[in-house]
Symmetry: C2
Subunit: 308 residues, 2 copies
């Protein structure tokens, strides 16, 4: 498919064309930028639900159940499973592309992507991927990231509603880490709520929430058993409540704030790239050597390069 | 203490002056930059050992035991426990400043810091903190970070030898996450090796390692029981082996590569700050609104701002 044909097909909400655009974005192909420029006006129209949580919490099952639930309600849904690949392993944590077949037969567009997030961070790349999915004209885009540090904070920057999934039995020592992630959740889900210890986890989460900063809309805790679909309807009710709470005002304010943050990142990246082209990579290496050998301090070195 | 007096005291390796400089860096006080410029030539002389791992793995106990072990061998040791605070909670995970008293009486400088790492990332700030500690003339600086995503990858960027601490019994589901963190470890420690399941963990780690990319020097797995001090001598032997393996060549190459990465980050940050001062924050907000309302696409918007 050449560029013009691809743009044409995208304007027709063609699934294969969208899949192609996603691959271009994923591979950081410059063509993706050209194409997104052309179709930009058609993006930004879906409501974005972000889901994060530790590996093994059952995020994928919840996402699939929620997506099917929404399709049954007559909504058009797109799903992105974003794997923030480690700069070291480069491997995919999610990568379960088998899911595609099952979900697509229910009319859901679902795609796993391994985002390196080199340019302007994971959130910026994910935003572009969402924009690509939105060309299908979906009402909701569900974005799933594995909650292993970087990803779980980044998801807040792109979601209208953020859902944090927790699961009982990952050990008390892991709990200490949870305080941070709880604060990003508009809705908390305790999955595998058929396990005996899940009530305790729900109580612990409730307690942690009560210790945190007061929010205007308190984050509800929803118990689910994703494998049987239990609790998905309640989860949907809470998503709707949050969406209503945001209304038009808060919704727009939040999106603006996030976009501003992203724009700043992009500017920062581009300025740097431009600078490197100007001064050359050799200069950077030479200056690094001088800093290492204590011929110059890093602050003066940076100032000199900026002035050049 | 005024600036001149502080610099004077730093040149005398005064502990209180170093503590003061660390606080200045921690609070991102511009004075810290001025002072570090003056004392830059005296920094960079210690060998840096980084330790990371999940909360509850016993990192602090290992660090304390290792530091005391080195002091007994006649080495001068500084310890930094860096807490990569969440941008949301702002709270300290480590923050155990009580440790200071016990360790200081053994002649070890130990300090917990909550690094926000706003400017140029966590690694850049930690590097400056290490430089401050190095003014005490220590042979080794041990840096401890909690392995909760961001921190554990960042530590590689500042360490000469990276140690990853694992502990049995955190649940199989957490294992999936380990593959990534294993690759950053020059040495792997299985702590609480008195627990019955620790042998299984060691075997699992061995298997994961054998699946990964071959390294010139294979990462050894060291069992420890930090509370009793068992295994600390073996850990030290492995650190020495790694240090010898690096020699002068690899050691310098590694440091240069890391410094270059940091320098690039700093340049990027400063360029952006300069740009914002030039065009004003209002322009950024206005452009963000235009992007949100689909009046302009983000790529063209960024290009326009860069050209301004």
């Amino acid at each position: 498919m050449n560029k013009e044909r691809l743009i044409e097909k995208l304007s027709e909400a063609n699934v294969r064309a969208v899949a192609r655009l996603i691959t271009l974005i994923e591979n950081e192909n410059p063509l993706s930028e050209e194409i997104l420029k052309k179709v930009w006006k058609e993006t930004g129209k879906s409501y974005i639900i972000g889901i994060t949580g530790p590996p093994g919490a059952g995020k994928s099952t919840i996402v699939d159940s929620l997506a099917k639930f929404l399709v049954e309600k007559g909504k058009k849904v797109g799903v992105l499973a974003v794997d923030p690949t480690s700069p070291f392993s480069g491997g995919a944590v999610l990568g379960d592309r088998l899911r595609m077949t099952g979900a697509q037969s229910s009319g859901i567009f679902i795609r796993s992507v391994a985002s390196r997030g080199h340019l302007g961070g994971l959130a910026a790349t994910t935003r572009l991927l969402i924009n690509a999915v939105e060309l299908l004209g979906n009402d909701y885009t569900i974005v799933e990231t594995v909650g292993a540090g970087q990803g779980d904070v980044e998801i807040v920057k792109i979601s209208d509603t953020t859902i944090v999934v927790e699961v009982p039995g990952l050990g008390d020592e892991v709990q200490a880490q949870k305080a941070g992630i709880l604060e990003i959740g508009d809705i908390l889900v305790v999955n595998k709520s058929d396990r005996p210890v899940s009530d305790r986890l729900a109580r612990e989460l409730q307690m942690m929430l009560s210790l945190g900063d007061k929010k205007d809309l308190e984050s509800p805790i929803v118990p689910t058993t994703a494998t049987t679909g239990e609790g998905i309807d309640e989860l949907w009710e809470e998503i709707k409540k949050h969406q209503e709470y945001l209304g038009k005002g808060r919704f727009k304010d939040n999106r603006l704030e996030k976009l501003k943050y992203e724009l700043e990142n992009q500017i920062s990246q581009k300025l740097f790239t431009k600078k490197i082209v100007e001064i050359g990579d050799k200069e950077i290496t030479k200056t690094s050597k001088d800093i290492l050998n204590r011929k110059i301090d890093p602050f003066t070195a940076v100032d000199n390069i900026i002035k050049e």
